[in-house]
């Protein structure tokens, strides 16, 4: 037994604890429940609700289990008459000024106060005085307030200060007049701010768009994975009569802990936006007409076949959104390759595809998400981190604030971070030059030669400070963001970052666009890789090249909006003989070009799998009902493949598709975190703009979310830095 172990006894049961642990931290894992409101695993201890008072031998007063450290030989009684009397006393105090308006409160049925009142409350109130009324606050479009219901646990206050990094909520006033609010009225604008909805143990802070739409007990709960970024955030969808009503976090300590980004919570609203398609459509006499499935599918198959017959397979192109599931992507890749067409891509916003053969088996973060907070040196290159992957920004903040990490940035602009930044190099015009200087600084620090192909550079103090931050400790990571990926010199930035990572013994990783870029690589939805990740024999056209080549037939899969999702001009679509849109949405920018429209289910309406940035395969089995005539994407693709007389696609379930791909991927199924390595691409380094896509413009679903559009970040428009 180490010196660290403390023996305690709870309700007569002997338990082992670590020195410094609080009683609650010992009883919780031991399945001994102590009622609580203010205590939360992820927040500091406030000890203000007094619900967790327990009896401790030799202590004259009941003690709060959340804030009482264990001591050797301590005897705790959580259900003794003294403990229960204290808990009941607290419950009575909490209820006297609570409005008890459960019948009209959205929290009803999932309310911690309601639940505990059942166990510790009285049946009839002894309080005969007037109840307190508190003015509601306006926190913006995401969080509704009913502050009279507030029990002052301050979880929301602590969340702001400790998790977000800046206090958005606070308490004002004293005694009975203490109120939780923002003091000066403003909306809650952090990308994680709506987590206070889940934190609030009562109905004071609630989901505003969901308000009065359903009761907790009417809905069914299904597990999902967030489609808005490749973090792999685990969600629960709450569905009422087939309609998705709201998203809540699904706890997964290895991924999103107990949090989700606001985008993950409200982004699904786009499923029900006005440009959602629910009927198969065919262009007849110049206009899109609703037809039945058979007609539409036959038209798509025949159109593709005749285009290929007339112009060859290379005249067709398959573009898919990175929101598509692994199963859909694999089937689409099988169709393209079955038709001998190598032109398939999901990298819609990328411009520079040089040196793509040097890439890892699939784009990944280079470090397991759970290990991010243990990093000691971090360099982020070309990323508006908080917008691109809010939950990763949270993990990195944890590393910087609670851990030992020094975090440096190389960005075209100075973005705001709620943690100490060790170094920040800003270059709007020539980031390649700055990155080259960082490589020189790193080579200098490591005492190693500058890799071949790296140009000369003048190293300044700020370069050295950023490299110094990256070389802090031993666990180091370089992470390249989507700003860099959208830049015309991406391949150079990538190769230089890899060289830098190599010199600093750091892992090298990517933040990818969309939820499933990793899955798309593994499924073969790239022109240079076969399904399973092996190099393709014939390398096809990239997404950009397909748009620039005026192909005769295009298949657009998933929710692609050419106006928002394509880096290249989309004029080729309008001139093409055939545009088959297999999609959840039909955005205006596609309406004129589409010849055949096949409506499919969104991520929440189909079973499927995403592969996250850390290579985690996460499957789910659908939550909401498909609207109208739409069908799951994988079923549509399977029928299309049959109509095209392709073989080897006779799958009966999405699980079969996934498992078949997994076999192909072999070892790549395991989180492959091999870094990107390779020579610096020859030729010029094109100058170009930095495209910053706001967090609530990132994909077809979030763009359709009214609640998010009304936030501060929702008003941001796509900007070119």
């Amino acid at each position: 037994m180490s010196d660290d172990t403390v023996n305690i006894e709870v309700n007569g049961v002997a338990l082992k604890a670590r020195k410094g642990q609080m009683i609650m931290q010992v009883t919780d894992p031991a399945q001994i429940y102590i009622p609580r409101f203010c205590y939360h695993d992820k927040l500091t201890v406030a000890a203000n609700c007094r619900m967790c008072l327990v009896e401790v031998e030799k202590a004259p007063k009941p003690l709060p289990a959340c804030a009482t450290p264990v001591t050797e030989g301590m005897k705790v009684f959580t259900k003794s008459p003294k403990a229960v009397a204290a808990q009941r006393a607290t419950m009575e105090f909490l209820l006297i000024n609570h409005p008890l308006d459960c019948p009209i409160c959205d929290q009803g049925g999932e309310c911690e106060l309601q639940d505990l009142a059942l166990g510790f409350g009285r049946d009839i109130s002894r309080f005969n005085e007037r109840k307190r009324v508190v003015k509601d606050k306006n926190l913006g479009s995401l969080v509704s307030t009913d502050m009279t219901r507030c029990i002052h646990c301050t979880r929301c206050v602590r969340f702001g200060a400790e998790i977000q990094g800046y206090p958005q909520m606070g308490t004002t006033g004293r005694g009975e007049h203490m109120e939780v609010g923002t003091y000066i009225e403003h909306s809650v604008d952090h990308e994680l701010s709506a987590n206070i909805i889940d934190l609030c143990p009562v109905g004071a802070l609630n989901n505003k768009p969901f308000r009065y739409h359903a009761r907790a007990w009417e809905m069914t709960q299904s597990a999902l994975v967030s489609p808005h970024d490749a973090f792999g955030t685990n969600l629960y969808a709450h569905v009422l009569r087939g309609k998705l009503m709201r998203m809540v976090p699904r706890e997964n300590e290895a991924v999103n802990e107990t949090w989700i980004a606001d985008r993950d919570r409200f982004g699904f609203e786009g499923m029900y936006s006005s440009d959602r398609v629910a009927q198969p459509m065919l262009r007849i006499d110049g206009a899109l007409k609703v037809v039945d499935w058979e007609v539409a599918l036959t038209a798509a198959a025949e159109g593709l076949q005749s285009a290929i017959k007339a112009h060859g397979a290379a005249a067709a192109g398959f573009l898919t959104s990175p929101l598509a599931t692994v199963e859909e992507l694999y089937l689409l890749a099988q169709i393209a390759r079955g038709l001998k067409c190598p032109n398939i891509d999901h990298r819609l916003r990328q411009l520079d595809f040089r040196a793509q053969e040097n890439e890892a088996g699939f784009p990944n973060l280079g470090v397991a998400i759970a290990d991010v907070e243990r990093l000691e040196g971090v360099l982020i290159v070309g990323s508006n981190l908080r917008h691109e992957m809010p939950m990763l920004a949270h993990r990195i903040r944890k590393a910087a604030v609670k851990g030992a990490a020094k975090v440096g940035f190389l960005n075209p602009r100075r973005f705001e971070y709620m943690f100490p930044v060790a170094g920040y190099v800003v270059s709007e015009t020539d980031m390649v030059k700055e990155l080259t200087a960082l490589v020189h600084a790193a080579a200098g620090l490591a005492g190693r030669p500058v890799p071949q192909g790296v140009a000369g550079a003048s190293v300044t103090e700020s370069h050295r400070s950023v490299v110094g931050a990256l070389c802090n400790g031993t666990r180091r990571a370089v992470i390249l963001g989507t700003l860099a990926q959208r830049h015309p010199a991406y391949s150079v930035l990538k190769a230089l970052s890899a060289a830098l990572a190599d010199l600093c013994s750091a892992s090298m990783g990517l933040i990818t666009e969309g939820a499933n870029a990793a899955g798309a690589y593994l499924a073969g939805a790239v022109p240079h890789r076969e399904p399973g990740g092996a190099p393709a024999a014939a390398v096809g056209l990239s997404a950009r090249a397909m748009m620039e080549s005026a192909l005769k037939a295009y298949v657009l899969f998933g929710g692609i909006d050419p106006a928002n999702d394509l880096a290249a001009e989309s004029a080729a679509l309008d001139k093409s003989d055939l545009v088959v849109v297999i999609s959840t949405h039909l955005p205006d920018s596609l309406r004129a070009a589409a010849h055949v429209v096949l409506p499919i289910g969104s991520f929440a309406e189909t079973s499927g799998t995403y592969v996250s940035s850390e290579g985690r395969w996460q499957s789910w089995s659908g939550a909401a009902k498909l609207p109208g005539e739409s069908r799951p994407g994988w079923k549509v693709l399977r029928v299309l493949a049959n109509l095209l007389n392709l073989h080897g696609v006779d799958y009966d379930s999405s699980e079969e598709i996934r498992d078949a791909l997994k076999v192909l991927c072999g070892k790549r199924v395991e989180a492959e975190r091999s870094a990107l390595r390779g020579a610096i691409p020859d030729g010029n380094t094109p100058q170009g703009a930095w495209v910053d896509i706001p967090p609530y413009q990132s994909d077809v679903l979030v763009r359709g979310s009214d609640a998010l559009a009304k936030t501060k970040d929702g008003r941001l428009t796509r900007s070119v830095l």
């Binding site: 201890v45 000890a47 203000n48 609700c49 007094r50 619900m51 008072l53 004259p60 007063k61 009941p62 709060p64 804030a67 450290p69 204290a86 006393a89 607290t90 009575e92 105090f93 909490l94 006297i96 000024n97 002894r126 309080f127 005969n128 005085e129 007037r130 307190r132 029990i151 002052h152 308490t171 006033g173 004293r174 005694g175 009975e176 007049h177 203490m178």
Partner: protein, 440 residues
């Protein structure tokens, strides 16, 4: 009976312009501090001396001061702080104000000695904002004098000892007299008590080891150093060393501050205060500031004013604020006045106090308004019992004790008022505010 008054703190009153450095020197000022600096007295010895003096915290909790000092991790390399609590706001208490007005240098010297003994090189005196008129300027002026005389600062008088002292002005919250709320306030945050552990000695001001003592406690230290622990301890009975200032208020002929040795009989204190107002009969006394349980006349009359005797009488010395109530006092109204105070001064942080103090006051107001019900008395007591011992800080207890003690000793008055729809049992009653108490 005759007592030698003003032996320690109010010795200043015997001297001209005692608040100046020159005045303070007339009665031994800074001799102790200079001796310590000169001789580099071992820190342990100073702490032992304070322990032996029997000096107990005069802020109300009566914790032995030397023992508190010994809790400081003196060998810790961290910055340590000595903080003086001059946020005197316990109702009925007004002696720290007079110490700051007439003997501010004793506080400075006491804090410097404390800082030296505990290896705290920075001190703060947290003074309540209401003292802006005279006590704060007097203390600030004394501070400036001490600095210019080289008695504070870095390498004081060439001794290698550092001690910097700063004034901090509070904003008038009662709760900031609670030591951890005071620290929060000192850090610039809302004054809300911290839960303990950790205690300030390990995690105090800015997270560093800190000791907080009351003004009167610090001000007593120079005299103890000068005249010896034995002399100080011998002034009072066992367990109650030294002198204490009683702030006598309420129904007495001559209210005021009286510095007396610990353990004087209550009746002698009353004699010094000129007896009960207008020769009326004594009804009850709150002997140590509003938070202490009330003691009925017959009990207090036979009690000596020291820690042990007062405990036996069912109350405590508290801050030494003796609130005297004569036979015309309506105890229901008196209690409502106290309950109202705790309701407004609760910080609102933890549930029982935030919700319970308002409940207590509303019930009492309702009883006074003639809307009382027979079950209210049981409920009052029950609510008080449910606050007591369940809160982060002692304000909850302070709100509960008056209710418990008033109901224990004067239940008939409450009963009478409920039964008579708000009429008080005392014919002509006045509230503590001096307002005529007209039955509603």
């Amino acid at each position: 009976m005759s007592y030698e008054q003003n032996l320690v703190l109010f010795e200043a009153l015997k001297h001209e312009r005692s608040w100046t450095l020159e005045g303070y020197r007339q009665f031994g000022g800074y001799q102790a501090w200079e001796k310590i600096l000169r001789e580099q007295t071992p820190r342990e010895k100073i702490i032992d001396e304070v322990k032996a003096s029997g000096l107990r915290g005069r802020g109300g909790a009566a914790f032995p001061m030397g023992v508190k000092w010994s809790f400081m991790p003196r060998s810790s390399p961290l910055q340590k702080y000595a903080v003086c609590n001059s946020d005197e706001s316990e109702p009925g208490t007004c002696h720290d104000r007079e110490i700051l007005r007439y003997n501010p240098h004793s506080v400075i010297e006491g804090m410097a000695i404390g800082g030296y003994a505990m290896t705290a090189t920075v001190g703060y005196n947290y003074i309540r904002g209401e003292f802006l008129a005279e006590p704060i300027p007097r203390f600030e002026a004394a501070l400036a004098e001490a600095y210019s005389a080289g008695l504070l600062g870095k390498n004081i008088l060439g001794s290698g000892v550092d001690f910097d002292l700063h004034t901090f002005i509070g904003a008038g919250a009662y709760i900031c007299g609670e030591e951890t709320a005071l620290l929060e306030s000192l850090e610039g945050k809302p004054g809300k008590p911290r839960f303990k552990p950790p205690f300030p000695a390990s995690f105090g001001l800015f997270g560093k080891p800190t000791t907080i003592n009351n003004t009167q406690s610090f001000a007593s230290v120079p005299t103890i150093m000068r005249k010896g622990a034995a002399w100080f301890a011998g002034l009072g009975p066992v367990n109650s060393g030294g002198t204490i200032i009683f702030s006598v208020s309420g129904h007495v002929e001559k209210p005021g501050n009286f510095e007396l040795p610990m353990g004087v009989p209550f009746k002698d204190l009353m004699a010094l205060a000129g007896g009960i107002w207008k020769g009326r009969k004594l009804k009850a006394v709150i002997p140590g500031g509003s938070s202490c349980p009330v003691v009925p006349a017959d009990v207090i009359w036979e009690t000596n004013m020291d820690y042990d005797s007062m405990k036996k009488a069912g109350s405590s010395i508290g801050t030494g604020a003796v609130i005297v109530m004569d036979e015309t006092t309506c105890m229901v109204r008196a209690l409502e006045r106290l309950a109202r105070f705790y309701m407004s001064e609760s910080c609102g942080q933890c549930t029982p106090c935030r919700e319970g103090t308002g409940w207590l006051d509303r019930m009492l107001k309702r009883i006074i308004a003639g809307e009382g019900r027979s079950e209210d008395l049981g409920l009052l007591l029950d609510v008080a019992n449910r606050i007591e011992g369940h809160t982060i800080c002692a304000l909850g207890d302070a709100a509960a004790w008056p209710v418990q003690s008033f109901l224990k000793h004067f239940r008939d008055e409450f009963q009478y008022m409920i039964e008579h729809k708000g009429r008080s049992i005392v014919g002509q009653s006045t509230t503590l505010d001096g307002q005529p108490a007209v039955a509603a």
